[in-house]
Amino acid sequence: MIEIEGVTRIEGGRPIVDRVTFSVAAGQFCALVGSSGAGKSTTLKMINRMVAKSAGTIRIGGADVSTLDPQSLRRRIGYVIQSIGLFPHWTVAENIATVPRLLGWDKARIRARVDELIDLVRLDRDHAGRYPHLLSGGQQQRVGVARALAADPDLLLMDEPFGALDPITREALADELALIHHRTGKTILFVTHDLDMALRLADRIAIMDGGRLIQFAPPIEILEAPANAFVRDLVGRSALGLKLLAIRRVGDRVRPGLAAAGEPLASSASLADALSEMVVRRTDRLPVADSGGAILLSDIVA
């Protein structure tokens, strides 16, 4: 879907992004993680040409982005930023309709799409006619996400989308983003400095430091085989086991044919959820839904 090859951005004689190469397959959720100044936002912005690259190539679906007209390129890519940037003089519905309107969709189609998106990001349909300043920060970013998805782009770029929100809202929106990703199958590039968020949401993590790509791997590999001291430091030794439990799924550890009593767990639940349920129910085995089996405490540690 996206191939980034040797991409470099030089500012004031110094490389901000230095020969970064990785690719993301269609439907994947890729998180770019690093501290501020690591070059992750700049990398993201070179994809939709908000920032010009100094060297390298970026291809989306095989097409070199530098050969495309920037406006039509951006209309094909969803873009969500930390500061949200809703248009204060347009209603929620008008904000969501931005790109469809630019693409010249007819009114009925736009209206139907806006309703669909308001439902998808779980806003109230009553909010459609309101101006952004009447919404909470979390609601505003839901509108931001809906606006980015409006023209049904295959690719979604998210630049610290939940960075400005309080922790509770952030968690709720992260859960819903996972759900939206699952339901829509979009390819998502997500910039964050929060490794836990990345571990939870992404199936590929790109760790950047000082403009360089340090490690590009699935979450489990980041935890189990950090590429160097920087990544090891980022992962942190503390609670590593819990982080591993949080990204492993119950479905992978289920024992078919084993019976257990009680409310079944979803097979998509994490091992951390399973452990927590066992502690709460004071049991060492839990049934797993749709698997005809159960999971044992010893399977969690195995």
Partner: protein
């Protein structure tokens, strides 16, 4: 709304009903004959006055908008300090001095008045055009570009509507000043509501000064109130906190 209607009623009553005040003025100033200024009718002077102000305001708005937009673009950013300096110098030049300089070049009549007004209106408008565009949050601009709006679409659909309340506040200030200042145009032969004021001053006839001044004052207040209403409506529609009101 009520106050706007009251001022409008007072203004039109004075404008068309001026002759009705004749007995009153005659009793207070028996030496002044005729008691009401009679070389031109007040409606006719108002029309000419309003026309000069309107044309000057249009010119000031058009040039301020064009130059304000230009210096807030990437290409024109370097000219911003120069524009600021030119506009400030223009403002420190009193309109009377502009008149004095413009008369030899443009002759007597409306020409020099028009130039003096347009120059004096340019600064408050251009300052507010720039301020208005600069109040547009960077995030909104980034989102607009990121969604795929062209630079022109960002200007027309996002920046100008968001800057409109602030820009209109500048236009309102400028127009109020211009309506007052236009009266001095009568010293160089333009027909304005300043004509009875100047004639009254020259001929030592106080009632003419009062008659002209009260119509001009009410006209300025009326236009200011009307623009204020438009400005608020615009502010409410764009649903942003209103810029601080002038005292």
């Amino acid at each position: 709304m009520m106050s706007l209607i009251a001022v409008a009623a007072a203004f039109f009553a004075l404008l068309f009903g001026m002759p009705a005040f004749a007995p009153l003025v005659a009793r207070a100033f028996p030496d002044v004959v005729p008691p009401i200024y009679g070389f031109a009718s007040f409606p006719a002077m108002l029309l000419s006055h309003a026309e000069i102000v309107a044309v000057a305001a249009l010119a000031a708005v058009a040039s301020a908008l064009a130059s304000g937009v230009f210096v807030t673009r990437e290409a024109g950013r370097q000219f911003r300090p120069i524009l600021g300096a030119v506009a400030t110098i223009g403002q420190t030049f009193p309109p009377v001095a502009v008149l004095a300089i413009a008369v030899p070049a443009l002759g007597y009549g409306e020409g020099p008045t028009f130039v003096a007004l347009a120059l004096s209106g340019f600064l408050p408008i251009v300052a507010n055009v720039i301020a208005g565009i600069e109040t547009v949050p960077q995030a909104v601009r980034e989102a607009a570009l990121g969604m795929g709006l062209s630079p022109l679409q960002v200007l027309v659909q996002v920046e100008l509507p968001l800057a409109a309340p602030v820009m209109l506040a500048g236009i309102r200030t400028a127009v109020a000043i211009m309506i007052g200042t236009a009266t001095i145009g009568s010293t160089v032969g333009a027909v304005t509501l300043g004509t009875p004021i100047i004639d009254g001053l020259v001929g030592d006839k106080l009632p003419y000064v009062i008659e002209g001044a009260s119509v001009v004052a009410l006209f300025a207040i009326l236009v200011d109130m009307a623009l204020d209403r438009i400005e608020r409506r615009l502010g409410a529609r764009t649903s942003r906190p209103m810029p601080a009101r002038r005292p």
